[in-house]
Symmetry: C2
Subunit: 347 residues, 2 copies
């Protein structure tokens, strides 16, 4: 993987609400690995956003009151520059010639975007999952630009358990012969089989065992897959994974997925000796809200506690909220009745 | 998958110790999915067994005192009849023409083996993981043959979470082009890539996040994989998974793996309405020990509690032991200092 730099990247973003005259009411949203900048519907794009219940008029991130920006991460495939973008030096897509991507690059892209928009200071920066890493990274790299952080189901560094799972997802994609070492036809199906299997693994770890026991139990499906043959789909849970994983195919570029997934592994907010408290010295935050979910396998409560505890050394007001949602890591997208009041009362 | 029957299957087993004159000192061990009958070393085979620390002279399953039998499960590939065995009707390996395999078939194979050995009654039946399912099934199908059961990190029925993981492992194997719909060359490599990836997923879920944080943290490996290219091995945890998964290739037949994995999904000791207590009425046990591990993702403590609670209705003496081992589902193979005294004191 090449180290290098991308000159003048394009950064896709959407905004909601109106910037106040003193530009003091801006909330910036970093996304998880796969969403676009379309966090909520708008006049320009009335389709439902990925965080529709959280962002909008009279919602917890209230667009009547705040000017809200959501950015498509650098390296993603929804308008921002990434591995599918055309390299101006070669007139061909970057693919694997795209340089190593880090969470810090995503945070710096946000800072550049704010410069272009003429916004010097954020009211709050917020992000779930990888977005929480990007948000923390932004606070560390640009401490004078923000006083309040909301980190949701995220971590100060990736654990070896989550690295193992993401590494396996990447290997499954790379093992699909149609990946072609990253040179698949961008208009064709590409490594759709590998993407489907990697997505299933994602879905298994994004949710929780107790949710599935409640939802599916040991129900058998009517929806047998004749192609599956002897070991095909039999249980409802298998049918559910199959249909949802199929929806993901084509919706996300495989090379972009590989780069963003790897960026999460590489993220470590601690100093070179692995000391987290030391590195957080750079922060200039007044208030932090750390939200975690007790059934989250990927970003467990222990990582929320680690982050909150380290923050307490340098931040006056750190609140750690541990939610009882049973939807695991995905709860921030699903269990809105629990998340809305927590975010709302902090903002 | 065909329903059918196997006539006169071969059942591989090993024994240790001496049967008492009244044949009252026999302990029967059912294995997890992948081990052979070689639970412990012996004069005939001095190589280390898969449960060497548990079975032997003066060990918890004391071969000075007991006559111990360990059986290779029906459907496996270490001597018992399974998908790699030659079908006498066709003179070719069964492969996918092998009939649907169930945990009950494994339990019944054990009963047939005992008939051949002239043993009417077992002192104790014991099994970890899938072996615990086989052991419970044996007690349900042959209630007059046993009074004591030890179930280790097992369950009365597979949860949808564990079904999802095993289903994905099977799909990864079946998606390897070298699986060839089950018709790979039995002397060649077969779907070694699929087996390697499925094994990695197994290893990730057999252990626990906390163990890996302790063992590997975020250490980088010196042992880079040049073949991995841009997204190759970087962290120690990735290197560990790669080297261990490679050892599994060739050690277990892929079709046998598919059949045994599916048998675990299908296992459900409850009655057709999903009522577990009702179906346990058939038991005639005096004592049961249920051991679970708090960090087990595949067979969580909630399933140990479910089993113990249902057993209490019909069994006088049910003991539930919840161990603090950090090695997850694999703890019964690794954390012997915690497991030995528990098994020893019960036997």
């Amino acid at each position: 993987m090449k180290r290098g730099e991308i000159v003048s990247p394009t950064i896709a973003y959407e905004t909601w609400g109106t910037l106040s005259s003193d530009a003091s009411n801006c909330i910036f949203i970093f996304t998880g690995l796969s969403p676009s900048a379309h966090a909520s519907s708008s006049k320009e794009d009335p389709s439902t956003g990925w965080w529709e219940d959280m962002v909008g008029p009279n919602k917890p991130i209230d667009t009547n009151e705040f000017f809200v920006i959501c950015m498509n991460s650098l390296g993603s495939c929804f308008g921002s520059t990434g591995p599918i973008s055309v390299n101006p030096d070669t007139n061909a897509p970057y693919r694997l010639s795209f340089p190593v991507l880090s969470v810090e690059d995503i945070a710096n892209a946000a800072s550049e975007l704010l410069n272009v928009l003429g916004i010097d200071f954020l009211h709050t920066v917020i992000g779930p999952s990888m977005g929480g890493m990007s948000a923390l990274s932004f606070c560390l790299l640009h401490p004078l630009k923000v006083k309040r952080l909301i980190s949701i189901s995220s971590a100060a560094r990736s654990s070896p358990f989550s690295i193992a799972l993401r590494s396996l997802q990447r290997e499954i994609i790379r093992n699909d012969p149609n990946w072609e070492e990253g040179n698949y036809d961008l208009d064709g199906n590409g490594p759709s089989n590998g993407m489907r299997l990697a997505r299933k693994l994602g879905m298994i770890t994004y949710r929780s065992a107790s949710e599935w026991s409640n939802r599916f139990g040991r129900e058998r499906t009517q929806d047998k897959d004749p192609k599956g043959g002897a070991f095909g789909i039999d249980f409802e849970i298998e049918s559910y994974l199959e249909s949802h994983a199929n929806k993901f195919i084509g919706a996300f570029d495989p090379n972009c997925y590989l780069y963003l997934s790897r960026a999460m592994d590489l993220f470590d907010a601690s100093d070179p000796d692995g000391n987290l408290e030391n590195s957080l010295k750079k922060l200039d935050l007044d208030q932090v809200l750390v939200i975690g979910v007790k059934t989250d396998l990927l970003f467990p409560i222990s990582q929320q506690e680690e982050l909150a505890l380290a923050l307490e050394k340098y931040v006056e007001d750190v609140r750690l909220v541990q939610l009882d949602s049973i939807q695991g890591h995905d709860s921030f997208l699903v269990d809105m009745d629990r998340f809305r009041p927590v975010v709302s009362s902090f903002i």
